[in-house]
Symmetry: D2
Subunit: 378 residues, 4 copies
């Protein structure tokens, strides 16, 4: 079987998730190319070696430019902080590499647009790791919507609630905490959490026309890990917006890292004329489905335990009732990408899809400043 | 409108529930007889007067025999402790009164059989207050079963779990605590809690053939409220049994007052070839229903919020989504009884139905002693 | 015991809820005045008589002005459609009656302000039936917040979702459907459903500073029941807004009658630095509580079944685990009102409290037109 | 790092689960020996080769005796059907191999006893794959119990409900269906499902004294896949029992493959004087915990989302809120086994622990025949 050589940049939380996906995918999915963990790249050689040893990468690099130059690398997989996405992706496109990029695609839409231009000019396969599309319950939601079961859509609502930054003593910046550093992350929860909600929403409910938003930074100053100084916090701790979709539906979106009691509560709900769907990351293998066409006396929300062989991806795993984990969404996305290479079909979300989400987050951040409804670019 | 004069004996927890039902029923249900709270009877005249004032009873009695003799009483409603059910009911039957009796019907089946003989000889309307049959969700379960939606039944399981007697310092006997006194209550949780489970089960799943049981008294001695002495505890604190029903299904039953965390967790579940149903008193307006004939990909347990006008009894109350309380099951039973009088149809559960439950509890208590499977009398 | 003579105007859904509350309250609560259902008033004499018979009102009126003039009436209870609240209340205040008024207080804040002026000038006891404050779980939430258990508040979110007007064939106007007629209702879900959410929010989380909103009428034309003609629909079918509270917290609010699958899903959640609380009308006796100060390994949302004697109001009802219904919130409010008379303390929410909610709904409706953040009057 | 060479026999459902565990464990856990997938053994060479290719085994064998003879194999991992456990394990022990064995340990306790004797005589590390002990929520339950948080235990209840064999058209025997063939499986749900419940129960609640049971075979005849003939079904489709533990607690146990609507509902609950715990495999990362020592007004079942770094095993995975899957329990067990080798501590459940479960299943099956309480051997 032909190999598919992966060169991955970054070895944090997402680096582990990507490495696991590539290492595991061919045990469960029938693929015509075998992903090979060829090289991991990180600034710290010692840590990179440790990571390579633990995950079975063949080699390391400490300069991502060198990684891109290597002939034995087919895919550049970007698991580095947000500010590195654009330079790496644009260089990798020029080098003709396939490119996988962690979300959000870029620091902002302007940057993302350049990345899209680069990959489209180079005609290289490209994909953004909005992994939640491949949670089987979410994929099932997409199927039900595409089958027209919901009818006209009236409402969409999504939230991504966390509570891990409430302490004033938490510093910003540096390894593991770059998400709190606006210069590295671009934005706070808007790009980190809302971006997930928006990607799913655009996929399930189509384009968004306009938004009105508000954001807040609850803790205004934090010590910076790298400088050691107390500095202003530039990120948004919370971001809320109302939206109107092109299909006429109304929406509320909210994300925060100050919702005590919620570790990673990503939920969405969609209400249609005939049926409604809801989902919650905390119980990610369950899809709630209400079908008004059910007989009235026995009508109710159905709790679908999405673990049957007829559910998306689930024929590849265990037996009904036995659930899989968060990380499997990455395995599915890797499988789809490799199968897409074989068939020549781009695997969504592409960079262009990622740009669409960045257009929304830009509009959200702008509205939070102007206090007005802002139109979403398309 | 013709009145229906109620003479109620007892003014404890159940006395309040019955009084409330009679006071409220004609506000919500169209009836051709108006229940009138004619007299309440209790040994303590002061307390009886207070109760009469609070609930609007016209008069009081302190001797139940006098109440039975009164010409202005149509219905004797027995809300007194278990040891009083038989003498009162038998005397009331002789006096030609209609009789309503709190559950369990009697201290044991032998006593219950005499009560049945008395009411059947006297041909007086009679009913046992197994109120849970009239929780709308439970009535809906009965409808679904009667419509044959479940197919062949494989399993039944029921539990009634409480935790209010765990403290060693709780005394036994006297007002509010007679349920811990075997001489007054007949048994512990078997007659108090399991009797509810059994009544529902016989109604939903038909007759039971045989049982094997075990019981336990976790706290062996308690001070007796009336004597002041520490005395042996005669009741069962917990009672568990396996059963086989005439329809071939297998069952587990359990009740206890030592299940920390459960205030009144009465649940049942029934598994059929085609569908399953479950219910929980803690969320009594929800019925869980799983229909295997639903399309596979969207099959799941439906949480039916039993508050629509098409649900049993619910057209009489508020609007969809607004739930009613525990006490409304008594209102429904009172309504059905009065409507049954008009139509001449006995309203279940009759004393004979109550006897069937006592046959099961007798077999359970016997099996707990013999350690063998015991056949249930019919 | 001294009586408290009630004259109630209106005999629809709310008329039944109020009548039930007055009829039942003294069975469960120790009061020094006994509510008497003295008169019910409605335009249709036949229906009024039927209602009086069913609920035990002593008399009827067909002209509310006559009711107000009657010397034997202590309390005017307004359960008529929204457009009648102001004229009745203002006249009743002039006549020196105590006044209870269904929510929302008025068609808009300008009208509400006149009502407040009238009752305050006349110095008559007055109250708005925002009944959800007296659901025991909601009252418990208030206690926990007042005790300072949540710490600094970051987020509030509330929704009231229904699905009963989705059909295009549903007419507007007339008995039972006046809520769809803007001339009678004032607004759609904003005044009907959001008003509940706002009243609770102001009570739990303090005053609101500003809002940005959007509303929608999904079905633009409906036949009018009274005229028989197809007419434009003037109400809002859905209303969503973002808010900022004076305490610095951010909020999302949403209400709609187009959320398929939700009969009456009123939920709120409040996230504080130390603890969070959430509640759902569909399971109204449960309060979800998360306390960060719990030991880490066993920290989790607690599902509190608010049915213990130590929970608000619950010592008056049954035993732990046995829940009460929606309607009991009105019983509690009636009890509190009567106890407030004895103590001379105004019982909240007063008309002035109701005005505060109308200020918010006015700002919401204005923002939906201007597309801007609107400041809430105080 | 020193390798640990695995020779696995069987490549069905469990073969995949074991292979996955060994392949993945060192990516997540710091171990001093690296498991190597050295050989997989199965009767069908073609299938064995396919499996080896998919999972990265270095070689195959078609005769397990040859596998045992190989010098390059450290561990014999038995993932073959139940009737093969004893001969393989006994031979492997004689050959001085470490042995891992799928559950149940043997066809019956007599056979299991011989296996225990063999491994104890050979002094080889041995372990049974009762994987549910290593679901983090279940391990947390064990910690809480060991810390004495529950106090005196009153009740234990467990169920394992499935619904996959209800169809009469399902054959018995052969690949994937050997669990329906008594000659290969030993028993039906008693050894397959109840064994899991019993292993967990003995671990959490200590030894069991006696049981009374009933079993049923709902579908009496099925076509045999291998012979093509309709043959009597020898297995139990359902198995229920009551138990008394040495610590004085009472229990109900139930397992079935005829509980429509339940794919793999393994639940247990344990009620102690001070606290209670419950768990459900369908939502395996949640532990329900009720602590009576919580303040009364805010006491409730806590839904602990067992995904924090301070929860068992979870520091090795992702971030709070992100759950892992069923299969990770095997990864944890593999990690513990390898760490146990380093420390010289036997990793539970050993064969001797597996024997204890077989003693209970033997007593259950015996009681189902005798209709009496049967004492559990120890």
């Amino acid at each position: 079987m032909k190999s598919l050589n992966i060169g991955m940049i970054g070895y944090g939380f997402m680096g582990r998730a990507h490495a696991n996906a590539f290492r595991k995918v061919s045990n469960f999915f029938a693929l015509d190319r075998q992903p090979v963990l060829k090289a991991v790249c990180g600034r710290d050689a010692t840590k990179a070696k440790e990571f390579a040893a633990q995950w079975g990468f063949d080699s390391i690099e400490t300069d991502w430019r060198k990684l891109i130059e290597r002939d034995d690398i087919d895919v550049i997989d970007i698991a580095a902080p947000n500010d590195m996405h654009a330079p790496i992706a644009i260089a990798a496109a020029k080098a003709g590499k396939m490119i996988l990029c962690e979300k959000p695609l870029a620091m902002n839409a302007a940057e993302a647009l350049k990345m899209v231009a680069a990959v489209e000019k180079a005609q290289v396969p490209n994909m953004v790791w909005y992994n939640y599309r491949r949670v089987p319950a979410v994929t099932l939601a997409k199927q039900l919507i595409d089958e027209g079961r919901l009818g006209r859509i009236f409402h969409y609502r999504a939230k991504f609630l966390q509570d891990w930054t409430i302490s004033k003593d938490l510093p910003q910046g540096g390894a593991g905490l770059w998400r709190l550093d606006a210069k590295v992350a671009g934005s706070g929860v808007t790009g980190d959490l809302l971006a997930h909600c928006i990607d799913t929403a655009l996929w399930l409910n189509g384009p968004m026309d306009k938004v009105t938003a508000t954001t807040e930074t609850f803790i205004k100053q934090r010590q910076h890990t790298l400088t050691g100084k107390v500095e202003s916090v530039g990120i948004d701790d919370a971001s809320l917006f109302l939206a109107r979709f092109a299909n006429g539906s109304l929406a509320t979106f909210e994300s925060t890292r100050y919702a005590r009691g919620h570790k990673a509560l990503y939920t969405f709900e969609i209400n249609g004329e005939n049926a409604s769907i809801s989902w919650d990351l905390h119980d990610l293998h369950r899809l709630q489905f209400y079908d008004y066409r059910d007989e009235g006396r026995v009508r109710g929300w159905r709790s679908i335990h999405v673990t049957d062989a007829e559910h998306p991806y689930m024929d590849k795993w265990w037996v009904p009732g036995l659930q899989i984990g968060y990380e499997h969404s990455f395995v599915h996305q890797a499988a789809d990408f490799i199968q897409g290479l074989a068939s020549g079909t781009p695997t969504a979300p592409t960079f262009r899809d990622g740009l669409a989400t960045d257009y929304v987050t830009d509009a959200v951040l702008k509205s939070a400043k102007t206090g007005r409804w802002e139109t979403v670019k398309k």
